[in-house]
């Protein structure tokens, strides 16, 4: 065992792993995190604690992760390359490990201009760091954990035992380079991969075929990304505006139909669409898990953590296995 985390244990057991996502609040109040942790607890093997996602200031990933851990939910702390140089990153990783965190997902991070897709002011004038990139951060983590060395070469008295993950967008441009992109992350030391949300299952499967041919599915655990659709509008937005995501027309039509069934009743429209969204999600989970080489799913119910329970149950992934530490 590299870290002994619950996530690692489930993956190593060969059963499909389930991760979810917990977005920390723009708040100093721990209760929001506690509340969400309680909603998710028991329905996933670990939950990602995002790191100022969409380039908006939120409670730090490490702090929120520790709060979640105390609530009995295993966190996957996220770390972006945007805000810290390698000194801060390594210091934070040591601290995180010391506080009991066992999983870390490495990301480039949304650019500071993103500002929640323009919904919030954010800090577009901030200076980004990008001292190292995702691959390099993965490499740094691996070196710290496995060699007990800092990036600069200095020794660590106690190495941080972290299960190292990285994100991967299977279907963004340039599409034929994406497998190489994954290869690099695996070579750098990624133990697990969480992919960008998959709607176009056919496209994902064809990328996975290449991955299998490269043998990458055996060197890392790929968790297929599932973004729970809430409305037709959201699907359309994802299709048109989110990099590497394309949503088949049929799915959008299904959502539209659900919306139309409600007529002018807005509340009902919301309910019907949410119900359809959960249905779609469950179907997607099955399709993704059926794809050879996939070792689990990463379910993102953005600002809708309460849906996870229903989804995981409907997908037949409940209860989550309890694999004791060796």
């Amino acid at each position: 065992m590299k870290s002994g985390s619950n996530l690692e244990r489930v993956i190593m057991s060969g059963r499909p792993a389930v991760t979810a996502e917990l977005g920390p609040p723009m708040s100093a109040d721990p209760h929001e995190v506690m509340k969400k942790a309680n909603i998710l607890r028991g329905f996933c093997d670990a939950a990602n604690i995002t790191d100022c996602q969409t380039a908006v200031v939120r409670m730090s990933s490490i702090a929120a992760a520790v709060i979640a851990l105390r609530e009995g939910l295993e966190p996957v702390m996220q770390m972006t390359c945007r805000d810290r140089n390698r000194i801060a990153m390594q210091a934070d990783l040591l601290g995180a490990a010391a506080l009991g965190l066992k999983n870390c997902l490495c990301l480039a991070g949304d650019h500071q201009k993103f500002s929640a897709a323009g919904k919030l002011k954010g800090h577009p004038g901030a200076k980004n760091v990008y001292d190292v990139d995702t691959c390099q951060l993965v490499g740094i983590l691996k070196k710290m954990r496995d060699e007990g060395l800092q990036e600069g070469g200095d020794k660590l008295e106690a190495a941080p035992k972290l299960f190292v993950g990285a994100s991967w967008t299977p279907m963004a441009d340039p599409i034929d380079f994406r497998p190489v992109n994954l290869l690099k992350k695996v070579n750098a030391g990624a133990d697990f991969i969480q992919t960008q949300g998959i709607y176009d299952v056919e496209g994902f499967r064809s990328q996975m075929e290449k991955i299998r041919n490269m043998g990458l599915h055996e060197r890392t655990a790929i968790l297929g990304g599932i973004i729970v659709p809430k409305s037709a509008m959201m699907l359309k937005y994802m299709d048109s505006s989110v990099a590497g995501v394309s949503v088949p027309k049929s799915l959008i039509n299904r959502m539209n139909k659900a919306k139309e069934e409600a007529g002018d009743d807005k509340k009902k429209a919301k309910e019907l669409q949410e119900a359809e969204g959960i249905k779609i999600t469950v179907e997607l989970i099955h399709q993704v898990l059926e794809t050879p080489g996939v070792r689990g799913v990463h379910i993102q119910a953005i600002e809708w953590e309460s849906a996870i329970e229903k989804i995981v149950k409907a997908a037949g992934l409940y209860p989550r296995p309890d694999i004791p530490e060796v």
Partner: protein, 239 residues
């Protein structure tokens, strides 16, 4: 070359309004090519300041002048006495020129008349693009001649990130994804396989770091320093 861009007149006015005699001093090399700070733009800025002063009813003498470069003393030395007659020099050279002239002019303040934008190329008349960040450690041979330091929004060394959207950067549809370009270019060059290697964390110490960077050519400095010493010993003054 160095690309500059003009400052709003109000910002300039705030800088110059308390001076009586102002010289707008143009630089006729890089910043002239990009129509930001050559002699012509210096004259334009001088005209704008005069008009602004007239609006405020302020008596102000504003003239303009230009030399080939502000970053080599030989170019401005011949006019330095003239330049020193002013209360303020508004240099429309790049920041290099402003610093350099400021250190050599004596007790006259030198203010920046333009913004120094980047190192760029003339993509098309009137369109300039940043292609190099001057990081001091060139890796263009590894990236198909396309610089991820200057051209990737995140300066990723192992891109692209997941934000590439139809060849564009997640920051804006106006920005090409540098890594998309790198991959496409290397595909064409038949060197795509080189991108499979993880480029290690960079040594950024050659970039902006630890005071001004200097390049000193020993074979030239050795001789020059001997000459400078001779002049000093002979009682001459070193500029």
């Amino acid at each position: 070359m160095i690309i500059g861009s003009q400052k709003p007149i109000e910002e300039i006015w705030d800088m110059v309004k308390d001076f009586k005699k102002v010289l707008v001093f143009g630089c006729n090399t890089c910043v002239a090519v990009c129509h930001a700070g050559g002699e012509k733009e210096a004259e334009t800025i001088a005209s704008l300041i005069r008009m602004r002063a007239a609006q405020e009813g302020k008596a102000m003498e504003v003239n303009h002048m230009g030399v080939m470069r502000h970053c080599e003393p030989e170019y401005f030395d011949p006019v330095l006495d003239e330049v020193r007659k002013y209360d303020l020099v508004l240099s429309t050279a790049c920041g290099v020129g402003v610093n350099f002239l400021s250190e050599r002019i004596g007790n006259v303040p030198v203010y920046p008349g333009i913004n120094t934008s980047f190192y760029g190329a003339v993509e098309a008349p009137g369109r300039f693009v940043e292609l190099c960040a001057g990081c001091g450690n060139c890796i263009l041979h590894l990236t198909g001649g396309i610089c991820p330091v200057a051209r990737c929004s995140k300066t990723l060394m192992n891109g692209p990130c997941g934000g590439t959207n139809k060849g564009k950067c997640e920051v804006s549809q106006e920005i090409d994804c540098a890594w998309y370009l790198i991959v496409e270019r290397m595909k064409k060059l038949g060197t795509l396989d080189r991108l499979s290697e993880v480029l290690p964390a960079r040594n950024w110490s050659t970039s902006r770091d630890g005071g001004p960077r200097r390049v000193s050519l020993e074979h030239i400095r050795e001789y020059e320093e001997r000459e400078e010493k001779k002049v000093e010993q002979a009682g001459g003054k070193k500029q």
